[in-house]
């Protein structure tokens, strides 16, 4: 077996056998399941989050108050026409608040007051505003006294809730155009980008720690006379990458297994019903159903999965090699902190750019960020679902993997020199000269 292979094997075995690995492998999916189940349970309990608002309506015939409809966010309690604010303030202390509607509300829509017993809630205010706005609009239209007023109103009440977007291709038959959805694509990219970010933080740190450990335990003297620093760095990075891969595969299996078999048992039949209802409510938005629809296309999914896998692996390896370079140049994790922020900078930039992918997946900024290795794994992941030319993916992947090899080489250079510089914090200038050093 090659020396790199031996080092990979050692790093892998040492980590996988640790108690902390077993614990985090088992606990993380529990946490993830809890995150999935909790909202469902909260929804089942429901109610508690509904705010009750007492309404004092001074408008003619209480035309506003009578038409306010209670819902999940707000529950309205309309008081009689002679109720006063002062009485209500004393009587309804336990309610969320008191809404006072002015008598001239139709002509003076600003004449609205909400007296609160609790902290203000944006969603309640928005709910009240939009309801009153629509009531006033209808009432004002009615003043023109047109024929078929009710029908006109009903007809005008239209809502656009989604747009079907299609990918233009070379085929003549427009039936074959692939459906794309900006929101769906973006959402998918976002989730995957976050996944990569998470992997970088958790396992990138492990690479850093592993290189520092090598120096602190003083094994390095023996190691550098047994193999080249490049073999050592490569072995460490790949070994930890394998641990990450194993852990993620276990998580995936556990989460899928748990959601298929265990969750119905835990939640019971009632819970399942509530959750199904919740899922249906969510999927009524076209984005979600679009996402589901796209995931059901197996070949699309396979190619997408392959590309994303290449980016996650490449992105991890590239960033891990940067962590290795940092680990090589410092003696303690404390010293590493000053460099750590510098690594996270491009990741944060990448996530910000990724957010802007939705506006224009082909803008110059987004294009270059998806080619440059520092940001490409995250930004390109958000772009891929929009359907982009293959050459861009190929170029950016090649650059990413070349950068990984180069960065590992740099890390090895720094390691070799840094090893014998114990006790001295390197400056950027030092690092530069170490890389150039023969």
């Amino acid at each position: 077996m090659s020396k790199t292979g031996l080092i990979i094997e050692r790093e892998f075995a040492e980590r996988v056998r640790k108690k902390s690995f077993i614990i985090s492998t088992l606990l993380t999916p529990l946490f993830m399941i809890a995150m999935m189940v909790l909202p469902g349970i909260l929804m089942m309990k429901g109610g508690s989050s509904t705010k009750s608002v007492v309404v004092i309506d001074n408008s003619p015939l209480q035309f506003v108050g009578t038409r306010l409809t209670s819902g999940k966010t707000v529950e309205f309690k309309l008081l009689g026409p002679d109720a006063t604010l002062n009485d209500a303030r004393m009587a309804y202390k336990s309610d969320y608040g008191i809404l006072v509607i002015g008598s001239d509300i139709l002509d003076n829509p600003q004449n609205l007051q909400l007296v609160l017993n609790e902290a203000s809630s944006m969603s309640v205010e928005e709910n009240i505003q939009s309801q009153i706005q629509s009531i006033l609009r209808t009432e004002r239209l009615k003043r023109y006294d047109l024929e078929n007023m009710d029908q006109i109103l009903a007809d005008a009440n239209v809502r656009v809730s989604g747009i079907q977007t299609l990918k233009n291709n070379d085929q003549e038959d427009s039936e074959n155009m692939e459906e794309t959805s900006t929101t769906t694509s973006w959402l998918m990219g976002l989730i995957l980008g976050m996944l990569l970010y998470f992997i970088l933080i958790v396992y990138g740190q492990q690479v850093l720690q592993s290189v520092i450990d090598e120096k602190q335990t003083r094994v390095l003297d023996v190691m550098v006379t047994s193999c080249t620093p490049f073999e050592l760095m490569m072995g460490k990075i790949l070994g930890i990458a394998l641990v990450a891969a194993l852990q993620i595969v276990i998580w995936a299996v556990l989460v899928i297994g748990a959601s298929a078999f265990v969750m119905p048992l835990i939640a019971g039949a009632d819970g399942m019903e509530a959750m199904t209802a919740a899922a249906q409510a969510a999927s009524s938005t076209s984005e979600f159903s679009g996402l589901m629809l796209r995931f059901s296309d197996v070949s699309y999914l396979a190619s997408l999965f392959l590309e994303l896998l290449l980016y996650i692996v490449g992105g991890f390896l590239f960033y891990a090699s940067m962590y290795a370079a940092i680990g090589s140049s410092v003696d303690t994790p404390q010293d590493a902190a000053q460099f750590n922020g510098i690594i996270m900078m491009p990741v944060i930039v990448a996530i910000m750019v990724m957010m802007s992918v939705m506006n224009d997946p082909n803008s110059d900024l987004v294009f270059w960020c998806s080619i440059i290795p520092f940001t490409s794994p995250i930004v390109m992941m958000a772009r891929i679902p929009f359907g982009i030319p293959t050459w861009e993916i190929v170029v950016s992947l090649i650059l990413l993997y070349i950068s990984f090899i180069l960065m590992t080489w740099v890390a090895a250079r720094i390691f070799r020199v840094g090893v014998f510089m114990h006790g001295k914090k390197p400056t950027w200038k030092d690092l530069g000269s170490w890389i150039k050093m023969k």
Binding site: L6, R218, V222, T225, S226, C227
Partner: protein
């Protein structure tokens, strides 16, 4: 001389200070070679230059008949002064790992390592974690991982530090055994007792210079400078008159238990000692006549202070 390693005019400067200045030496095959010197003299730097861990500013290192390459390094057994083992790993597993890093097969490494563990009384620790070992035991494990792949050249940096006398002796025996089986051993130390006992040749480095090189016997004899210790009984005056012109007295005479007297004398480098012994034998009752060979410790201190 059949040498396994030849160091030629090696210099190395770190920022601000010169660690090695034009150091040359030749290590005979099959010998135990001591690399001596006070702390900070440049011993470890020299070892690192040999091991390719640090490249010299100028000068060359030859291994057998060619300039040393990375592949040669992997065939050297090196035990650094600051010992290090992976703490969380099991002892046996770790030993096998290092042996395989040095090119042994898994099967072969396991077999050989078990033999070594038995020899040094570590067998029951095979499956324990390194962090559970005592310092001495960890040192033994380190020693085993250094020698198990049977390298032609072994380099030990301060091998006896951290060992109790029993284990230090055990280690000494093992090092001698390795030499007898054909290995060349270089070790750096400032433990002079061990140098006298096991080194064939030495180099003394001080302030980045090689100030003394050669076989241990020769160096000690030379440093002694024809000084002898004479023990006798009889008239002191007669003693003085009988050596007059042939030797000079060093220091005062000392009385010993049983009526004996002890006196150091110096005889000129090229002259014969037989006339001196003859004259003394005629005039006093000669009990003992012995060359004073200074200890390596004395030589070390005198060499470093420039009074050798």
């Amino acid at each position: 001389m059949d040498s396994i390693l030849r160091i030629e005019n090696v210099s190395k400067t770190y920022t601000g200070h010169k660690a090695l200045d034009d150091v040359s030496m030749e290590i005979p095959r099959g010998s135990i070679y001591g690399l001596l010197g006070p702390n900070g003299a440049g011993k470890t730097t020299l070892i690192r230059v040999v091991n390719h861990m640090t490249l010299p500013d100028c000068g060359k290192v030859w291994f057998q008949d060619h300039e040393i390459t990375a592949d040669d390094i992997y065939q050297i057994g090196y035990m650094p002064e600051e010992r290090g083992l992976y703490k969380k790993m099991k002892v046996g597993e770790q030993a096998v790992f290092f042996a395989r890093m040095r090119g042994m097969s898994k099967f072969n490494a396991t077999r050989k390592l078990h033999q070594w563990f038995d020899r040094l009384g570590l067998s029951e620790w095979w499956d324990k974690k390194v962090e559970d070992l005592s310092k001495g035991m960890a040192q033994k494990v380190q020693f085993i991982t250094t020698v198990v792949h049977e390298p032609k050249l072994l380099i030990f940096d301060e091998p006896f530090s951290g060992f109790d006398p029993i284990n230090a002796n055990l280690l000494k025996e093992e090092i001698l055994g390795l030499r007898d089986r054909g290995a060349t051993v270089i070790f750096s130390t400032h433990n002079m007792e061990s140098v006298e006992e096991i080194c064939d040749d030495i180099t003394l480095i001080n302030k980045s210079h090689n100030i003394l090189s050669g076989p241990v016997d020769e160096i000690r004899r030379k440093a002694g400078g024809n000084t002898f210790q004479v023990i006798f009984s009889g008239d002191k005056e007669k003693f003085v008159s009988s050596v007059e012109g042939k030797a000079t007295l060093i220091g005062e005479s000392e009385g010993l238990i049983g009526g004996y007297t002890q006196q150091k004398i110096h005889i000129a480098q090229d002259s014969d000692i037989r006339p001196v012994i003859g004259a003394l034998n005629d005039n006093v009752n000669l009990r003992s006549f012995q060359e004073i060979i200074p200890s390596m410790n004395d030589i070390f201190i005198r060499a470093v202070n420039g009074t050798l």
